[in-house]
Symmetry: C4
Subunit: 233 residues, 4 copies
């Protein structure tokens, strides 16, 4: 069996996701890529979280998109993961959830605005929402087109996916990534927290002004990049 | 004692319901039908969940609506279950809860709109709400008429109850069904999740547009019917 | 020590209240009356729930309002309980909480409307809110006047406190009662559930119409009074 | 090692904070001052709560603001704590959280109004929000200026920080204090409770009138100051 370590890591990440409260039933999936080996591992489709073993994790080729070994059908969202790994080079792990508040914004096709420093500590601006997909995109290669519409969103808005590591797919839900699967899960939890706060801010005052850009920049750069001074040296 | 297996199943389902967080106190009830035997089993009325034994489960005749054996009075909602089993042939189990968000929509006589793919994965459109009942319907055979007004709602809207397996009764709460009691409980949990999200979508943007019908169809058919490709083969 | 049984019962009720999630810190209190003995027992003031023993429960005379024995100062809300026991003869136990949603309605001086059958199963109409108290009522005998303004509310609205067993005190919070302390706690939990649902109904549709009175009457009489048919015979 | 007791106390307080549900991940920090020794102890920056030992707690000089011993970098918010200890003499412990509802008000730059007696039991009026900080204040000595803008807020509004022991920093979150770290945590929990209720009051009725000032004064003085009569003698 190839890539045993990757399977173990992805199994653990899927169990962590199940314990995180971000998913319901068998919804949601996590993957992690091994770029040197040219493969990523992902959860099988529709198997309850408590029955998963490392052998259930499905290995997918980055080049062909095909399953490399084993009898299991990968998560139906696999082609979305594939397109994100191909387009976003810094992306090492991806998580898809239907977490309640992020999904709320996706249903309303609204972005999660950056309204404070907790948001800026993790994401350097508004978390975008894709456009709706066309009939053609939905009826043929739907899951692959979901990945492509995410990539299109980042290109059109000129957003760098190595910093903005989350997106809402219109009428669907969030896809979130990071340097590995564990980081992706952490970002998905922070996104849900931020979506809860932002949903309440909009109800409290729909006209509330966003923070000044220098405050957002300060907080993001305090934790990320060459001038970071958060945490231990 | 007849139908011991059915009693056990329905007891377990009622305990699962109590543990699901969808009911408060002795509210709520689950039943399951054995169509070959012409009976369904249902919870007794007003007995705390933690005292229930298989013997408490009440067997009711599909033909006469009468209690077949035992000293216990069935749930006061039994005539509603009876009418649903009679009218909806694919229905194998029924659950009634007063879960918070679904009840909120019932109190406001609003449907839970299909606003995204999580909804479409389970229900192929808006979850309907019945009309209010007349004084005559309430004062005489109230619980039976509750079932009849549900059946009327599906007939008038032209909705197929083998696909749309949930309804809100105006100023009351949800009735949810499935191929058996366990499926009915799963659907009731999904309904509550969807009602939470939809309640927040309406607060976030009352004018949010629904998804295109081809996206709803794609997700429902991805998990149901002849072209399903979700889960393992 | 007199009334040992009453002290034990009231201690248990206060512990149940602490476990109910309806109170924060040392907020909240429960009492129960022994009308034959002319006393009620109530929690001492400001003692953490986890340190309470039966000896801490304070016995208060229904006739004089004075403490009958022991070194502990009773809950500061004791004169409110006293006035309710004096005016509402069917009242056997009283609970005061600052539960979140009921307190929300009290802060906004809004009643919890009866918008559905779950409400009508317990309370036969809107749960009223008192008027604001005058400077004189607040500055002198504040807690006793709190009880008197509750009694005034029921008299002016012509509501029967043996059926409507809850009230919101304006800018304060709920007082709830029942045939004993355990019933009062159950009603306080139901009130909080109903306040949660009603708060969401108002957000979903501020103009939602209430149910027809015959539906409310049907549900209340189904569980209470001479024609009740809910539960076992 | 100096101030071992203070380190232990502050470690325990940070663990209590982690268990309180008020913080997410490594967000949030608690400190406590020893005014006789001229030092305060605070959490190190970015170390997970479950790995903290007393040795991790960083001792900071009240006079110089410098770290007194040890290899750990203190919480990045340390200069904010320092300015609050310097300006607010009655302040013995400080907590900073990103608790959800208090942060919501901070994002919308709205105060948490005093709308009822639960609020008045702890805080004698509206909990203020600071102004937004200037570019200069953010880009140079940001954390120190955060403390100074809090102090400015209290001076300009004429609020006494020995009674009003909480503030919201605009687009950031709450800072809360008390006679020691444990009291600060209690106040942070009460603030979050009050922010939840007040957020819901505003949604229920944006025009709801506040309570009369004599009711607020009555409740605050019932628990605080020379005429207090809440709790045991």
């Amino acid at each position: 069996m190839i890539a045993a370590g990757l399977r173990e890591t992805v199994l653990r990440a899927n169990r962590d996701l199940a314990a995180s409260g971000l998913v319901m039933g068998t919804f949601g999936n996590v993957s992690q890529v091994d770029r040197a080996a040219g493969v990523f591992a992902i959860k099988p489709s529709g198997v309850p979280y408590d029955r998963l073993t490392p052998e259930h994790m499905v290995l997918v080729s980055l080049e062909t998109g095909g399953v490399l070994e084993g009898p299991w059908r990968p998560s139906s969202d696999t082609p979305t993961h594939l397109e994100l790994y191909r387009a976003f080079e810094s992306c090492g792990g991806i998580v898809h959830t239907h977490s309640e508040y992020a999904t709320t914004f996706a249903h309303a096709r609204a972005c999660v605005r950056c309204m404070g420093t907790t948001h800026a500590d993790y994401f350097p601006g508004d978390i975008p929402c894709t456009r709706s997909m066309t009939r053609e995109e939905v009826e043929r290669d739907y899951e692959r087109n979901t990945g492509l519409v995410i990539v299109e969103t980042f290109r059109q808005l000129g957003i760098d996916p190595s910093h903005m590591q989350a997106v809402l797919v219109a009428h669907h839900g969030p896809f979130v990534w990071g340097r590995d699967a564990a980081a992706a899960i952490e970002h998905a939890q922070v996104l849900e927290f931020l979506a809860r706060v932002e949903w309440r801010v909009r109800a409290l005052d729909p006209d509330a002004a966003p923070p000044d850009s220098y405050l957002v920049d300060k907080h993001y750069s305090r934790k990320h990049g060459p001038t970071a001074y958060y945490g231990q040296k």
